[in-house]
Amino acid sequence: MRSLVILLTCAIAALTSVALNATNKALPTTLQPVSAFATIKDPKARSVALFTEAGKVIQHPRCLNCHPATERPTQTDAMRPHEPLVVRGDGGIGAAGLRCITCHHNANFDPAGVPGNPKWALAPPEMAWQGKSLGDICRQIKDPARNGGRSMAELVHHMAEDELVGWGWHPGGKRTPAPGTQAEFGALIKAWADSGANCPA
């Protein structure tokens, strides 16, 4: 009986690590530069291709974790529900009595494994990305009613310069960074906007 339990435990551990490795392997680590898309002659197709490349960032767990479909964020590359159970609350800063800042401070604190940033917060419900196709996310990002009232220029600035967005490339600890760099991502978004901001289907 005891050996069966040990065997089962080992099997579960092995399966878990296989699953985790599979998740990690599937995650992109780099972004192609804007110049790589210059050969696409059709402007609409080029625009769609640029956004699809930027989608490697947008649909990376590092970014999706704080753009949840429900009021509860997710964690890790496996995007499991955040522990403890926390919710967006008013303004994306958590419920009364258990705000994000109860645990998340101005900087990462590695001894406790807790990430931090001065702007730590969840994206609002209208900016939920989890469970959506890249095309739907694209249309949502362009829609001022669902992107925080941002113009295309403000959107490009947000993606390319925002500090909390930028944290995704420097998450520290054992967290997997978003692919490429924020500058590369910002350049892709700008080139997408300049080429007509067309969306994948």
Binding site: P84, L85, C103, F109, V114
Partner: protein
């Protein structure tokens, strides 16, 4: 290096490494052992204190980040909400082993200061970062409602 921090209304000079968690400082330097170590990774709530009145997991904040903020621990939390929570905790016989309870009380007081009349969901959302291995959750929720009523919330 020496850090000046204010805890329970008193200024302290603490000579500690910059990444020393506030929890360590409270317990090992200042001997305020009412605040408990449960997990050290922001998962249990046993280390909850108040920083400028807001609940804080003291295992997640390095001493170097405390600055001029005022820290309050279970030894000194006071005011009408604290009194109501303490009385309700006794009346409802909330603690079992007690290990998690200083954290529970600090979270409950912070909740009532912000939401004087919390419903069950408010209580659950504020308190579910405070784990109780004795599972006193039902009594905690009842005691928070009782404290709220006593406060006229």
């Amino acid at each position: 290096m020496a850090y000046q921090i204010k805890v329970n209304g008193t200024d302290h000079s603490v000579d500690a490494d910059e990444d020393t968690p506030l929890l360590w400082v409270l317990r090992d330097w200042l001997h305020l052992t009412g605040t408990k170590f449960g997990c050290g990774i922001a998962r249990c709530g046993a280390c909850t204190v108040h920083m400028d009145g807001q609940p804080l997991r003291s295992c997640t904040l390095p001493i170097s980040a405390v600055g001029t903020s005022e820290i309050t621990t279970i030894e000194a939390v006071e005011g009408p909400e604290a009194k109501a929570v303490q009385d309700a905790w006794v009346a409802h016989d909330v603690p079992q082993c007690g290990y998690c309870q200083s954290g529970q009380v600090m979270s409950a007081v912070a909740l009532l200061r912000e939401v004087p009349k919390p419903n069950d969901r408010d209580i659950d959302l504020a308190m579910n970062g405070n784990i109780c291995r004795c599972a006193t959750y039902v009594r905690i929720r009842a005691a928070i409602h009782a404290a709220s009523e006593k406060l006229g919330g």
